[in-house]
């Protein structure tokens, strides 16, 4: 059932990028974030752009889906750019009253925009190519060494997978309840804020009731199957590093090396 619902923004596929071990992808992503902030001149971004373009091409995801990931933070990017543009001190290029643009400001603004863009493009590539379930699997194994110092790695990832698992169910439920109330003439999108908030009551009450009911049923079902009885649970899907994971890591290390090397090229 879960397969038929778009969750988050996962775009199913069978490509190399999809098949990579989630741990590889998470670690490479973390390192990639660091690398984006290490870039010191524009040539570095050309290398990053090449990396992203190759990844997107390999994953066979329509580029428009990747670019769509930028939309929600567009405002944030623009505000950051404006702040950098107007509030950096240095050689003044243009001035109008209190507003002034400096050469350094332009440089910072462009850098900030590029950094954030690459950050989002990269992370959305991770969530586009990795199903939420394997993402939590990956996180669990990555966090498991910390279990020794008392971090409940398994419980955390279980909570996360349950939460993720129930997003589509609750969305479906909300849709059903909204339709049922609309069929009884409920009007959700007219009137002022107060009357709109009031119109939510016929949706929220049944939704909460059903969420509690489902949570209760799930707890019973888990207990019926002896969840939590054994100390060391084994997993149906063992994660295994494969050749392609090695390949991906090498490609990424090369990219890192290139970026660092480029940093030494003096930019004007």
């Amino acid at each position: 059932m879960l397969k038929d619902i778009t969750l988050g923004q996962y775009f199913p596929g069978e490509t190399v990028i999809h098949k990579l071990d989630p741990r590889t992808k998470i670690l490479v992503m973390l390192a990639y974030i660091v690398v984006t902030f290490c870039v010191k001149n524009f040539y570095g971004y050309i290398a990053l752009a090449a990396f992203i373009v190759v990844c997107v091409a390999l994953s066979k995801i329509p580029p428009i889906f990747v670019i769509k990931g930028l939309r929600p933070i567009m405002v944030f990017i623009i505000i950051t750019a404006l702040f950098n543009l107007f509030l950096t001190s240095g050689t003044v290029v243009w001035q109008f009253g209190v507003l002034k643009i400096t050469y350094e400001g332009i440089r910072f603004a462009v850098f900030m925009v590029l950094r954030l863009t690459f950050l989002i493009l990269g992370t959305s590539l991770l969530t586009l190519t990795t199903s939420p379930i394997s993402l939590t699997d990956g996180m669990e194994t990555l966090l498991s060494p910390f279990a020794k110092i008392g971090l409940p790695a398994h419980e955390l990832s279980m909570m996360m997978s349950i939460a993720l698992r129930f997003i589509p169910t609750l969305m479906e439920e909300t849709d059903k309840i909204m339709k049922a109330q609309a069929a009884r003439g409920a009007d959700f999108d007219s009137g002022n804020i107060l009357s709109r908030a009031k119109a939510m009551i016929p949706i929220l009450i049944p939704l909460f009731i059903s969420a509690f009911r489902r949570a209760d049923e799930l707890a019973t079902a888990m207990e019926c199957r002896c969840y939590g009885v054994t100390e060391n649970r084994t997993s149906l899907h063992e994660l295994k590093f494969q050749k392609r994971d090695m390949g991906a890591t090498i490609v990424f290390l090369v990219l890192t090396a290139v970026v660092i090397a480029i940093n030494f090229i003096p930019s004007k």
Partner: protein, 286 residues
């Protein structure tokens, strides 16, 4: 009363999970008809009934309700929803008010009627579905499953729709509750001249109640005919994951073994009559 012309509907159009739910449906349902709607899971039944009261809009085609084109942008959807009452699957999960009476009143008060009229309609609807008066002041969450279901149906009936659509109204009820709800529906259909569309997985129920049966298969209209003509095609029905009433199976088997019985028998009374006739014609059996 209801007319569909070349109606198609696709879920998640353009996305990675695109799914065609209805493919070029043409259909006409007359005033006061009782239509049974059957089809296996995912055949497009639920999509079809949601189209009929404007909860979803078709990709193309026209839907006429009582002479109004509901696919037209200027049609007020709420007016259509008051005219076409839809009881969704497991409708008891939509209850939310403090008391049963208030919950039943939700629909009619959305219509902008005055309080007396709303109360009158709610009490009338509660009576129709057989809810005793003392339950009306209780919380709907304290009722039994069957009673909750009746409250939900009453909530739609209180809007006094001209067409009543029910999506598996008896799913999950015990046999007594099931028979009672079906009897009430049939009763209302006869007494008030309501046009009824009943979605059901029970061939027996549809056979017993419907004037005509609409069979859906993979988003297409497979058959739309009288029960007699529908249940003649037991082979085709089995092929598309459906069934025929048990009594039809018995009669078909008897015919296969050489008894001269007609095709498309779907009620016990009819079967009894046919078998008796066939027996009396043949040699005397003791």
């Amino acid at each position: 009363m209801i007319k569909l012309e070349n109606v198609s509907y696709t879920y998640m159009k353009g996305g990675p999970f695109e799914k065609k739910a209805l493919d070029n449906i043409n259909l006409e349902i007359g005033k006061g008809e009782f239509v049974g709607l059957i089809g296996h899971t995912g055949s497009g039944k639920s999509t079809l009934i949601q189209l009929l009261n404007g909860l979803i809009k078709p990709d193309c085609g026209r839907i006429m309700i009582d002479g109004t084109d509901i696919t037209d942008k200027n049609t007020k959807m709420r007016d259509i929803r008051f005219k076409v009452g839809l009881v969704m699957q497991y409708p008891e999960y939509q209850l939310f008010e403090e008391t049963v009476l208030k919950d039943i009143s939700f629909g009619p008060s959305n219509m902008g009627l005055d309080n007396d009229e709303v109360k009158h309609r709610a009490e009338f609807a509660a009576n129709l579905v057989g809810l005793p008066k003392e339950l009306l002041s209780k919380s709907p969450f304290d009722l039994s499953g069957g009673q909750k279901r009746r409250v939900a149906i009453a909530g739609v009936l209180a809007m006094e729709p001209k067409v009543l659509i029910l999506d598996e109204p008896t799913a999950g009820l015990d046999p007594a509750g099931r028979d009672e709800i079906l009897f009430k529906i049939k009763d209302m259909h006869e007494r008030m001249g309501l046009t009824v569309i009943l979605v059901s997985h029970s061939m027996e129920d549809v056979a017993k109640l419907a004037d005509r049966i609409l069979v859906m298969n993979k988003g297409n209209k497979e058959m739309f005919d009288t029960p007699e003509n529908i249940f003649r095609n037991s082979e085709r029905l089995t092929e598309i994951g459906l069934n025929v009433p048990q009594v039809t199976k018995i009669v078909d088997e008897l015919r296969r073994r050489g008894m001269p019985l007609k095709e498309g028998v779907y009620t016990i009374n009819d079967a009894l009559y046919c078998i008796k006739k066939a027996l009396s014609k043949g040699e005397e059996l003791c």
